[in-house]
Amino acid sequence: MSRTKELALFFVKGLFVLILALLPGAFVVCKMDPYLFLGTQPKPYIYIPNERFQIPGMARHEEYDTVILGTSMIENFSEKYASEKLNASAIKLPINASYITEQKLVLDIAQKYHDIKTVLWAVDYRTVDIEHGDIYSMNNVVFPQYMYDEEWVNDWKYIVNHNNFYWALKQYRMRRTGIDPFDYMVTDREVLNTWNWKTFSRELITQDYKDLYEGRKSVYDKINNLPAEVAKKTIDLDLIGTIKKYPDTDFVLFFAPKSILWFKLLDQMGILEKKLDVLTYIVDEASKLPNVEIYNFQNEFEFTENLNIYLDITHYNNTANKYMIDAISGKWLKTDPESFRKDNAELIARVRSEEIDNLVQEILK
């Protein structure tokens, strides 16, 4: 055999071995489709609460006409309640700790595959406090861009992926045994990513505040604190730009009721006014668009000062989510540039009031 032929045969055999080795796992991934990415997963669907991987498939293959978009601030929404109140078929597509970049990618997928009537978008300072295009790397896990890019040539990264093979086998076992052996995957979208099983209490939020205030936890895990101009540029490109891209969809932007201790902490850091200035910019710019409504829940002190409904300094339980849906469906608490400025003045006054100072002193004792 000639040398060239010998080498060619060596590489062909190597390729054959490689392809044959990849086939069984790839077949299992395609057949079980653990993240619903390919749309081949058998019904009823089984969901993995790993949002960065699970959400793009859901955005593609579920049936809906209304999207609830955002970070963990929207995880406790009840889709059934929202659908009933808004007279729609709603789906929530949260990505915890995400930036607006990731949320925009989710919306693009939803828009591509569905005729979206309404988007409820929980916007906050942290999600836009980034350079345009930044993506949050959660626990150093690389963001699976290939699941969002709609490029079929990149789909092999999903198919030839032993993490997905692992989840496929687990789902197979779950389907056969009929139980959730890992207390992790769920079959009911209504409970997916909710925290109804968690404890919410004054003790938890006050401890979180103390840890943040006294430096045991870093506030900068929650915000980047870039110059306001950077955030404003991101707002123009990613938020306002996206809304303009879909003129036939109604956008409901809302500012969630994070706790008063969160606002107090920001004030103690000297960045509360800057944050409110960025949010005001959003209200100013979005109000100019015909397909946008804006709701402000930051001044709902009966929620923000009821510390028993919080799990930590920002995360509330589903009573707050229900209230937000009620307000949006009833069109209360709509805001505009003028009323939002008034709200902000009121919020700052409240944060600096003697009552809140006393509350904080008591916590820090």
């Binding site: 010998e6 071995v17 044959l20 080795a21 796992g25 086998l169 076992r173 052996p181 890992f182």
Partner: protein, 501 residues
Amino acid sequence: MLFNSLEYLVFLPLVTLAYYLLQSLRARNFMLLLASYYFYMQYKPEYGLLMLFATFVCYISALGISKTQSKAIKKLWLTFSVLGTMGLLFFYKYFNFFNRNVAGLLSFFNVSWQPLSLDILLPVGISFFTFQSLSYTIDVYRGDMVAEKDFFTFALFVSFFPQLVAGPIERSTNLLPQFYQHNRFDTSKAVSGLRLMLFGFFKKVVIADRLAVIVDTVYNNYKSYNGVVYIIATVAFAFQIFCDFSGYSDIARGSARLFGFELMSNFERPYYSKSVTEFWRRWHISLSSWFRDYLYIPLGGSRKGYVRTLINLFVVFTVSGLWHGANWTFVVWGALNGAAIVIEKILGIGKRAGKQEYMREQAIKRRQKPWFVRAAVTIAGIIPMLITFVFICFTWVFFRAQSIDQALYMLPRFLEGLDTFDLQKFIGTRMILGLDSWEFFTAIGSVVLLELMHLFQSVASPAKVLNRMPAMARLIVYSICLSLVIWLAWTESQTFIYFAF
């Protein structure tokens, strides 16, 4: 750069391709040298300078030794080389440990001294490349090796990337001459190298990384467990460290074989040893033989009387413990192994079985005996094997524990609660020692598979069996093995344990 990373799977074929595309030997070696430094400097660019320093010291020392006839000057050059390499090792690995212990000793005598503590990270693989380069100078000093004149070839010997970070610690007499061979790409060698790498990856990513979770769960929260769980975690560690380290060695040897180089074998199924002495002939062979040749023999070996031999053995093993890390746990681990070997020496256990011919005769005689006699002999052989394994596991407790206190806390509790242990409940839970049940049984199944392969290796040569198969069947076997590695790999890739030494 880690072997178990995507980068390496791109890096290795590219370097192999470049190697064979280059025609001149000098260009090939220079390219390998650059690739090796690139490989190493991926951990931290500064590390490259340390390796360069060790290389330079040994290179000029060897040249100095070879250029003089004076014994005193030769000795001076050797001392320079020992001080240079061992000084580097001492500074980066033992400085803080030494200072802490001196301060502790002084405080015992009521002398207060604040130890100086350096905030430095241990450079990856420093124990390996310093030992390898030093062995070269000693070989030149002894006249076993001619001093290498070409600096780049010598630098390649010290830095050759497959075995740079965790061995095998190569001898200049074996590796250096191979850099002067003009290798042609040999498909059968390449297949055998890839096969070895595949086996190494199986051990590392399927077994070791999975077992690491069990071991870490128990050893990092040792006060929450006892009894059977300690036993499971320690046996798991025995297999984790074997699979991790021998997996690395296999990948290293397999990678080198792609270039046509042959590195020494580092492991010979050590858990099949019937004595601790035999275990050390089969475990980390390149280090054991390094200590034999460059410490045990210079100390006098077995030439200075019976008692001195025993002392030398004990000293060598204790020092080998310290080589593993700047912690008393490693010293105790080495000393325990040394003590066991001394006792075996006194009792006459663990002697080499004799020459090949004698072994073959014995095997023929055994085969002529009735099956029940053969079975009885086999079973009788398992008992010392089990005793050795239990002892080795006992020493692994010190090796894995973070401190002597931890080991001493755990050891008396190994037999606690054995009577009340509920196996059904233990394996019936969702999570078993940090792994979900599916993963836990995958780990056990993989260890069983490994041992079946080892048993197979003890009766036949897998390479020969594979070569006798029809081509298609052989390719299917390779595909199944590769499939196991790809699809059963533990999802969180981990670094190799011996990188820390």
